[in-house]
Subunit: 440 residues, 2 copies
């Protein structure tokens, strides 16, 4: 009976993760979990599928178009989540009595967007969000920055900058200039300053947004303040004058800079940047963006900010909060570009060679001895020629091979081969764990 | 402007995971990852969505009915995966040249089935699969059992039984009895023996499957063999006679029992059980089921077996393999029933009380000092009354509270409160890490 084969293929915009990338991806997720937990953030999970009415209209027109939305078996209008924020809003409203406030949660899970894949974006990607809700305390804003900092260090980056801005400071300046009601248009124009230059932005603000040249210049002067963080803050505070909101924003930023200094964060990793405009129509307080020193062009790898009310569509209880999201896949792409991803596709360092086909039980026993000492070990499944097994070890990236035949078993020892150095030594079984632990 | 609230609710058959359950769920997944990796299994991931033709018709009629299937933006017929085996078959066929064989992978990810929720089943649940493909070596079968064993121990179970059977042994007996062609019907009847008893099963085999009473009795005699594992195996081997397939099955089981003994696995945790019939129409070699000593009624929490060909629908390359799947959510339900799930909803042991509103930076600094020593610590966001903060600590399950006001700061010390014992002691800041590490 002949049968046509089904072509094995993945959907456009979706991808498989092979071991060498997945090992790094898992390490990133584990690092995020460890750092989030160390600050007392608790894990939650929500369904991939939600009622469409929960998700639709929450991320703007673009998001709605990208929703994977369909009718299920029970004739329900459902959709796959496109982010972790809207499900968290629904979750918080539904479980408010159980979780209480303040509530600190992290959520690491895939989301789906039917994006245009020509921009190199995937339609399925993992988000790593953490948020503190139910309080407007600046302590949570400061902690959010510290989490981002510790996360980047834990991942292995030394050179990075967390750019910080504050919506209240900016609003204070806009109010002083008499253009607070035109903030959305002004911020949209401001966002182009790097691309089109100061004069063109001023022209756009005057022509399209309808402010005077002086007002436009005032906005740009504020956004272009340079100097140390404290110098920028002092200058910005002067521009704010007696505007209460602006002064409150300045005070909160000052408290943040002070706390970071006291806690010993390297000051060059934190940069007050009053030009950050992206996300300002959503965020209402502190705003964070994180850039890699060696690859700033890839954009922010961890962004977030403070918002006034998480779940206003689902509950009347106001839930102010602050949080950020690690762009896992963008970071992974950066790490690949920076050659920080090794070509190792096994999580175990030791391969036990299946040398003598009658000794399989001995090899399996040794595997368990190593594992009991915390050393990962694979036993090669088949008694193939040694050369083949060593090729396998090489291809996968094992660091050591353990070899034993009758000679070694008689003497109670193993040949330990360092695969990178291409050196081997005979080690008594009693000394094997200690020898390996020292080398690993 | 008044606006109607959207009711926050989850779809039928779906659930949110709140911190106290999610903390345990994450621990289970981490344990599975750690054990799988220690044997050299590598992580992979595949998309949640696949072309419907990849998934449809692979899990039988029931699976097809349960598929979440729809037409996407690009008019593609797509569906959410209902297990991790079919996507793995597609993955293996698609990436065969890159991954090589033998290939050992694990995959921990959610799957979706539009099941009848009245049976208490969820429509979204996590599977934790591990498989070795590309070899029929018995070493992989033995290792699969060892992985299950180590996984149960690592999760914290002392009393459990891994029941083992072998399809070739059973087939040998059926061939000897001359009923090999009726195996599916016989096994289906055999599966009911605990429920309806020996006589009713014999009657069903005679009436519905069409064998003689003697043949039916022979099948039941085989399946009911009792004694030590070796006694059962010896008796079964006699029933197999000279049947080659049967002898091969017996030899492989003997090798497995021998290797487990050599590796020091407790013999009472492994039970040769020739009555296991479930899954026998899919598996072609060793079969595993795992039962908890304290809650056998919940069914097998980790099942699997050997199969002849993983990906025959996608590639002409034969891919024999062996593996098993941890039923994460069933295990979680068992742990809840056995009161093994604590009511802790924070992953950090220490809460730093926000006692003096002007000392926030000090509290934040101390949090980082503790974290640098590997001790998770949350700083309470607001300077609320101490009683409120201690209630929060209690509700979340923090183990220690750290308190400091002007007195303590002047002396360079902290009040360390053990929340379970309701005891507190003054500790110099220089001794704090050592004191906490000793208590944790």
């Amino acid at each position: 009976m002949s049968k046509d084969l089904i072509q094995p293929r993945t959907l456009k915009g979706f991808r498989d993760y092979l071991p060498e990338v997945m090992i790094v991806r898992e390490r990133l997720m584990e690092t995020a979990r460890r750092v989030y937990r160390s600050y007392g953030f608790s894990p939650i999970d929500t369904p991939a599928l939600e009622y469409a009415e929960i998700l639709a209209g929450k991320g703007g027109e673009e998001s709605d178009k990208q929703l994977f939305r369909f009718v299920d078996h029970g004739a329900r209008d459902v959709a796959l989540r496109f982010d972790l924020t809207v499900p968290f809003a629904r979750f918080a409203a539904e479980h408010l009595n159980e979780i209480g406030t303040p509530f600190k949660r992290y959520h690491i899970a895939p989301v789906w967007r039917g994006e245009n894949t020509q921009r190199g974006r995937y339609r399925e990607f993992v988000q790593c969000d953490f948020d503190t809700i139910g309080t407007d305390s600046n302590v949570s804003d400061i902690e959010t920055l510290m989490v981002i900092h510790d996360l980047m260090v834990a991942i292995g980056f030394e050179r990075f900058t967390i750019r910080v801005n504050h919506r209240m400071l900016l609003n204070g300046v806009l109010e002083n200039l008499g253009v607070a009601d035109k903030s959305v248009g002004l911020l949209r124009a401001l966002d182009k300053v790097l691309k089109i230059g100061r004069e063109a932005v001023i022209a756009e603000m005057v022509d399209k947004v309808g402010v005077t040249t002086e007002q436009a210049a005032g906005v740009l002067d504020f956004a272009s303040l340079k100097g140390t963080n404290i110098e920028i803050l002092d200058a910005a505070q002067k521009l704010v004058g007696t505007n209460e909101r602006g002064l409150e924003g300045a005070a909160r930023l000052r408290q943040l800079l002070n706390a970071c200094e006291m806690a010993g964060l390297k000051s060059e990793r934190i940069a007050l940047d009053l030009s950050i405009a992206r996300g300002l129509d959503y965020y209402t307080g502190t705003i964070y963006e994180t850039f890699l020193g060696d690859l700033p062009g890839i954009g922010s790898v961890c962004s977030g900010g403070r918002y006034d009310n998480l779940a206003g569509l689902f509950t009347k209880t106001p839930l102010p909060g602050v949080g950020a999201s690690l762009g896992l896949d963008r970071l992974l792409a950066a790490m690949e570009e920076l050659k920080l991803v090794s070509k190792v596709s096994t999580p175990a360092p030791v391969l036990i060679i299946h040398f003598d086909k009658d000794r399989a039980a001995e090899y399996l026993r040794m595997g368990r001895v190593l594992r009991a000492a915390g050393i990962g070990a694979e036993v090669y499944a088949l008694p193939k020629p040694m050369k083949k097994q060593l090729q396998y070890a090489d291809a996968k990236g094992f660091r050591f091979a353990l070899i034993a035949g009758s000679n070694e078993f008689d003497k109670g020892c193993w040949m330990l081969k360092d695969l990178a150095k291409q050196e081997q030594q005979e080690v008594a079984e009693a000394d094997l764990i200690a020898t390996l632990q020292q080398k690993l």
